[in-house]
């Protein structure tokens, strides 16, 4: 297959931000996750847990509460006091509305989905009516003494429970007055803590209120009498989150020690109708605070400061014991944060608020498989480009020639020209960007770096010709009439004739750049596209989907290629389909048209279309065969998928030239090292 020099890069100092809230939507089986930097991500649990959408963060917009309302509308509230509704089609913020109650700590949508409650810093609980295109303030509930940190509706919608500091209030929704005030014991293992913060409440239909607090307690209250019914002391630290299943037969809590406890309503004795809440399973998948939990019908979902999103299927709810029943741990975004200039061996790293440009080193030595070659020149950090303003960077790109850098935030688009003079590098911003270029979801340079393609969040695609130090707007492909879906992924053919663009759900559109018209649309597939690329010479469009299927579509012929049909007929190897991270990048070998390079977070693969496809009996991940093996056997056992799992977690991999690869890894240990220290726990023997 071939020998490569691999630039193994580990200096991409990327640290995902911690998870603050998760909200599960049962109708669409989607999960909204907000992070501490204000980013909101949407995961499609039906599509192999693919992160299909994201809303960039904002420095001043720390999200403290997140919830879904009727019609799959997503709301968030944050410390800036604004209620934000997200537009899931256009992938931007629909509106932000000040609740005028100071920072918002909690939020809850009524069981019917038409009313929104927010709990504010000033102790007020505000009720909003959700109108078809906005929300409207209705009234305040009785003001409480301190901030409202948690809210929960009774399933009938008549009462709510609000967790504050040291007490829980039960409100009557109709009158807006507090019916009960349930004081929480501050004592913690005999020591009186200063305050007991009610981090979460859940109101069950039988009137029970479950509260979790900073003293490590899970408490059951009778809301009718306002009395404590049961007390579980489960942690030495805060219990920070709670989520109840729709059937109200189980709930999950997350603690600051990183433990997630599952509680279930089980019969006191077998075949008795009397049931009680029992702490059944502890899970320790986190090292840090579990700030948010969610309970889908089949899984417990948790996320916290350690940045992992953990989806733990409940074995008793899973009908088929297949790979879906396995634990999922999602750490890295399912999109590319790295672009590469092949010509100049440059890597552009995208962070939340800055970009880094690195030049790869070089070597003159050669070696055999597994050798680490001595460096004749080390990697250089060329540039550190900080954004202006509080907004996070949405996307960035460096041109293949290395002379252009473009990036975009929610409100501004930036284009820079880079000049190289020996070892010196000068950066020049291209000013006066046109008004329509405000926010881009994806940026791409053509292979010859003369054209810039920008997918805006309005669904339109802009083509801009780049000249020395200036630019010219060539054309804008408007979205198909009636659709507003934004394009998230772009691919351009090396010859510059074709542009493929894909949204989150509709098919892939292929545009003819020469004639500036839509060439064709690849039929829509059930699962979202995770990566796109157009092969040189053949102009075959290779599409990877979140269910791990890979299609090859011939753009000139407007049909799937023979190879794609064959592999669809035969089916992919079961181990290939069981991978749990999506393919995030596809590239091609310049000299070997039969090869497709693709990678996910834990492997990279070269598909050799000339070789036979593996079936389920053959070994997919073949370890390196002994070198003295005879050619015959090797040929017999060889199949199209050449997989290497050496580099992981792999964030980016590309071919620099025929014999050189660049692999960007981000070891988990390095991320953990940059996290705040976890709560120290005494371990036996230490």
């Amino acid at each position: 297959m071939g020998e490569f020099k691999v630039h193994r890069v580990r200096f991409f100092n990327y640290v995902p931000s911690g998870i603050r809230c998760v909200a599960y939507n049962n109708q669409s089986n989607r999960l909204a996750v907000s992070r501490t930097d204000g980013t909101v991500e949407i995961y499609n649990l039906s599509a192999n847990y693919f992160q299909e959408k994201f809303f960039p963060g904002h420095e001043s917009r720390a999200t403290e509460a997140l919830c879904w309302a009727k019609g799959q509308r997503l709301f968030s509230g944050g410390l800036n006091g604004e209620i934000i509704e997200y537009d899931l089609q256009a992938l931007n913020i629909k509106y932000a509305m000040d609740a005028f109650g100071g920072p918002i700590w909690s939020m809850a949508v009524s069981p019917c989905g038409s009313q929104l409650l927010v709990g504010c810093e000033d102790g007020s609980v505000k009720l909003f009516q959700i109108t078809p295109d906005k929300i409207q303030f209705e009234r305040n509930f009785d003001r409480q003494k301190s901030r409202i940190l948690s809210l929960s509706w009774h399933p009938s919608g008549t009462h709510i429970a609000a967790g504050s500091i040291d007490y829980i209030s039960v409100f009557d929704v109709k009158s807006g007055s507090a019916v009960h005030k349930m004081l929480v014991d501050r004592q913690y293992m005999g020591v009186s803590k200063r305050k007991c913060i009610i981090w979460g409440v859940a109101f069950l239909s039988d009137g029970t209120v479950i509260s979790v607090d900073s003293a490590g307690k899970v408490q059951f209250w009778d809301s009718a009498t306002g009395t404590l019914v049961k007390n579980h002391l489960i942690a030495n630290a805060d219990v920070q989150s709670i989520a109840v299943s729709d059937q109200e037969d189980s709930f999950v809590v997350g603690t600051a020690e990183g433990t997630v406890f599952h509680f279930q309503l089980v019969s006191v004795t077998s075949n008795s109708s009397e049931k009680q809440w029992v702490r059944t399973k502890p899970f320790q998948h986190h090292t840090h605070d579990v700030r948010a939990v969610a309970h889908s019908p089949t899984a417990l979902i948790s996320g916290g400061t350690d940045t992992h999103l953990v989806i733990r299927p409940l074995m008793e709810k899973v009908e088929v014991k297949n790979y879906d029943a396995a634990l999922r741990k999602i750490t890295f975004p399912h999109r590319r944060l790295i672009s590469c200039s092949k010509k100049r061996h440059l890597l552009l790293f995208q962070f939340a608020h800055h970009l880094e440009l690195w030049r790869l080193g070089s070597t003159v030595a050669t070696g055999k498989n597994g050798d680490t070659l001595p460096l004749s020149k080390d990697a250089d950090h060329l540039l550190h480009l900080k954004t202006k303003g509080p907004e996070n960077i949405i996307c960035s790109c460096i041109s293949p020639c290395g002379s252009w850098i473009a990036y975009s935030t929610t409100s501004r688009f930036f284009l820079y020209r880079l000049n190289y003079e020996h070892d010196n590098i000068s950066l020049q911003r291209v000013s006066k960007m046109p008004a329509f270029l405000r926010s881009a979801l994806q940026i791409l340079f053509s292979e010859d770096s003369t054209k810039l393609f920008v997918a805006s969040n309005q669904g339109s695609l802009h083509i801009i010709r780049l000249l020395e130090g200036s630019f010219k707007h060539l054309h804008t492909f408007q979205p198909q009439s009636g659709t507003v879906e934004s394009m998230c992924l772009l691919a351009v053919s090396p010859d510059g004739n074709w542009l493929a663009a894909s949204g989150t759900s509709a098919g892939v559109h292929v545009y003819n750049i020469k004639h500036l018209k839509l060439h064709c649309t690849v039929p829509a597939y059930n699962f979202p596209v995770t990566a796109l690329a157009i092969a040189p010479n053949t102009n075959n469009l290779v599409i990877a989907h979140s269910d791990q299927q890979v299609f090859e579509y011939s753009i000139p012929d407007k049909q799937y290629t023979e190879w794609s049909r064959t592999i669809q007929k035969q089916g992919f190897h079961y181990l290939w389909l069981q991978r749990d991270t999506p393919i995030t990048h596809i590239s091609f070998h310049p000299k070997r048209p039969m090869h497709i390079l693709l990678h996910d977070a834990y492997m990279f693969c070269i598909i050799d279309k000339s070789l036979p496809l593996p079936n389920d009996k053959t070994l997919l991940y073949n370890p390196l065969p002994p070198t003295n093996e005879s050619d015959v056997i090797r040929r017999r056992t060889a199949h199209a998928f050449k997989i290497s799992k050496i580099y992981k977690p792999l964030l980016f991999m590309d071919l620099l030239d025929e014999r050189t690869l660049v692999a960007v890894e981000r070891p988990l240990d390095d991320i953990i090292a940059q996290l705040p220290p976890p709560i120290k726990k005494k371990k036996f023997g230490t």
Partner: protein, 715 residues
């Protein structure tokens, strides 16, 4: 519900036992005051609630009171009869009976009856009855004879029926009983022959009676222990005819059939009778309250010091003689519910049933759990198990009965049969039962020690200490070291005290008696090693951890080499005979908890501690002979076990062993050897650290670099 309250003793002076001790207890005209007539000369008036006497009167020396004193309710005077014929009448102000009113009658008096509402009635021994007033008016009047010859009055009582007294007395003549009813309204005397019915042989021991409107219900307690009832009409149709009345069984076996004395019966109310007597042949005497309607025992009170067969019941108080004291037990009968009336079951232990000890079968209850995948299957197993538990195999039953009576040989045969049968899931509990049964017989019959059977049962590998708690104690008692060794090897849960007791026996048993026993020698290997050989090998230990060929080490090594040699010279050979070594190895293998073992170890005599230490030191040296630090043999003690026991022994007995010169030498050599070992270990530590560094270096090379260019070949 009938209930007996706390009893109390009335008289502080001891009374003579038997009928002579206490003649009777009678009511006085004031409630709560009773006249107690002691056999002999004294009459005492007691206030029961205060438990103190109010007055005491005695007749002169030589005179004997023959009839209990009564109170004339109409005048408030007391009447007593002494010397059968002399009446004395007095009241509370009188001090000396000699000086009170006296009347001498012409016939001997059997009893004076006095009840509320009528004048006292005097019953003469010949069966005649007179009113007291009439008698006093003419003391020397002639008294007719009613009874025939040899007919004696056994019992008498008076009732008020329609404001007129009715007197009943029972006579006996040649084993036949007759009842006479004297009514004073019509001045008639009717005679009834008590017909015994089918129970001809039983002897009537005691009577009591209650009255209805038309009948006197006469209850009799027979010698067969049953209470019979006879209904006697008060107003007979034909007074002159001798009538027969048949008795019927009222209560069955209220007292033991063969009770000789101390049996008494008294009616308490419509439905309750009090019975005094032993309820079982062997048991102590008891006061029992029976409900005649439901034939149930309501309550009972044991009277361990015995009683006299006299029982009086007056106004909520039962009077009886308990030991030598007059005892009062207040009795209350409240409105009872059916459940209460059903009352207590008589404690009956049927000697035919044997009690099977109960064990919790943990394995059977295993498998209950939430949502287990194969719950269906496990339930099925459980059901099957239950059936098996419910029906113990017949071989087991047979075996148990064999154990009860047969000889050891028979038991062995039966046991073999039993063990040959397929094992059931509760096999271990059954085996435990068998062992307990064997031990039970052993305790009652010390000569019975079914050693072979027990050994066979232990070797089923299913027993544990808790299943047969007495087994090891029995073996300890018998100094059965073979059995103890087997137990130590097989049981996972031996208490530390028992382990230590075994250790003591193993150390103290004489070599001669060891020679006779058969002991599993598995854990001991070539203890017959001659001294010389060991000394040769000893030189090898010295190089343990070092390569003997590489003698380029410094003088430290040489020093090391010498030290253990000195030590080795002192431990010449195995300090114990192989058999004892095997026993001690069993101890070394057993599980223990230091905390519980240490206090027991302190009890071991010092010379035994020394011996054991010597043996442990020997094992330790032997361990060090090879690089893996193990002993040869099939189940040798491990180095850790040896070390732990050395530490334990020293911890427990250090101050003692230090004082013994012989042990002191041993300790010194042990110390030298340990020190040399520590030197070796520290050297090893250094080597290990260097290797660890090497590994770390290797890892860092793989991981830590932020940037590298590597070669990758894909095949």
């Amino acid at each position: 519900m009938a209930a007996l309250e706390e009893e109390f003793t009335l008289s502080t002076v001891p009374l003579g036992a038997g009928p002579n001790g206490l003649l009777g207890v009678e009511q006085s005209d004031k409630t709560d005051q009773f006249l107690v007539t002691h056999g002999g000369r004294t009459v005492i008036l007691y206030k029961v609630s205060d438990q103190k006497p109010l007055g005491s009167w005695s007749v002169k020396q030589g005179q004997i009171i023959t009839c209990p004193a009564v109170c004339n309710f109409q005048t408030g005077e007391f009447i007593v009869v002494h010397d059968n014929k002399v009446l004395r009448i007095w009241n509370t102000e009188d001090v000396n009976l000699d000086k009170v009113f006296k009347a001498t009658l012409s016939a001997e008096i059997y009893r004076i009856h006095s009840i509320q509402g009528t004048e006292p009635l005097v019953l003469f021994k010949e069966g005649a009855v007179r009113g007291l007033e009439a008698l006093l008016a003419e003391p020397q009047q002639k008294i007719e004879t009613v009874l025939s010859d040899d007919e004696v009055i056994k019992w008498t009582k008076v009732f008020m029926v329609f404001r007129h007294p009715v007197l009943i007395f029972i006579t006996e003549k040649h084993g036949n009983h007759f009842a006479y009813i004297q009514t004073f309204s019509s001045r008639t005397l009717s005679k009834y022959t008590l017909f015994h019915g089918q129970e001809e042989k039983s002897v009537i021991q005691n009577f009591t009676a209650s009255v209805d409107r038309k009948f006197i219900s006469l209850m009799s307690l027979s010698s067969d222990g049953c209470v019979y009832e006879t209904l006697i009409p008060i107003h007979p149709r034909d007074p002159d005819e001798n009538q027969r009345v048949v008795r019927s069984l009222l209560l069955k076996t209220v007292v033991a059939g063969n009770a000789r004395s101390g049996v008494a019966l008294t009616v308490l109310d419509q439905d309750h009778v009090a019975v005094l007597g032993p309820p079982l042949p062997a048991s102590k005497e008891c006061l029992s309250i029976w409900n005649t309607k439901f034939q149930t025992l309501q309550t009972s009170r044991e009277l361990p010091q015995g009683t006299s067969g006299q029982l009086w019941y007056f106004g909520e108080n039962l009077f009886m003689l308990h030991g030598k004291f007059l005892t009062v037990i207040p009795y209350k009968c409240e409105v009872s519910s059916l459940a209460g009336a059903l009352g207590k079951l008589k404690h009956s232990q049927d000697p035919g049933t044997h009690t099977v000890p109960h064990f919790v079968n943990w394995e059977a209850s295993r498998g209950y759990g939430f949502g287990s995948q194969n719950s269906e299957q496990s339930k099925r197993i459980l059901r099957r198990r239950k059936i098996e538990v419910n029906v113990p195999p017949p071989a087991f039953e047979q075996l148990l009965s064999t154990i009860k009576k047969d000889s050891e040989k028979d038991i062995e045969v039966e046991l073999c049969k039993f063990l040959a049968v397929k094992r059931t899931p509760d096999f271990h509990t059954i085996v435990g039962d068998i062992v307990l049964e064997l031990l039970g017989r052993h305790t009652t019959e010390p000569s019975f020690y079914p050693r072979n059977s027990l050994m066979q049962l232990i070797q089923t590998h299913v027993l544990s200490y808790s299943l047969c708690p007495g087994l090891m104690e029995a073996a300890l008692e018998k100094t059965d070291v073979q059995m103890l060794q087997l137990c130590l090897q097989q049981f996972p849960d031996i208490p530390e005290s028992i382990t230590c007791a075994c250790l003591k026996i193993f150390l103290s048993i004489s070599d001669d008696s060891l020679q006779e026993t058969e002991i599993n020698m598995e854990s001991v290997s070539d203890c017959s090693d001659p001294v010389q050989e060991k000394m040769d090998e000893q030189t090898e230990i010295l190089q343990n951890g070092f390569n003997a060929d590489e003698q380029n080490c410094d003088s430290c090594d040489r020093k090391l080499n010498q030290k253990p040699q000195d030590a080795a010279e002192e431990t010449t050979s195995c300090p114990v005979v192989p058999k004892r070594a095997a026993l001690l190895n069993a101890i070394l293998h057993s599980a223990y908890s230091e905390m519980f073992l240490l206090p027991h170890l302190k009890d071991i005599p010092a010379q035994h501690v020394t011996l054991f230490l010597q043996y442990l030191y020997f094992l330790y040296l032997k361990c060090s002979e090879n690089a893996t630090m193990t002993l040869p043999g099939l189940h040798p003690p491990t180095l850790n076990q040896i070390m732990d026991w050395i530490c334990l022994l020293l911890d427990a007995n250090f101050t003692v062993v230090v004082m013994i010169p012989e042990a002191k030498r041993l300790l010194l050599s042990l110390y030298k050897f340990v020190k040399s070992q520590i030197c070796i270990c520290s050297e090893l530590n250094k080597i290990e650290v260097s290797f660890r560094e090497l590994q770390k270096l290797n890892q860092e090379k793989n991981n830590r670099e932020l940037y590298s260019i590597e070669v990758l070949e894909l095949f």
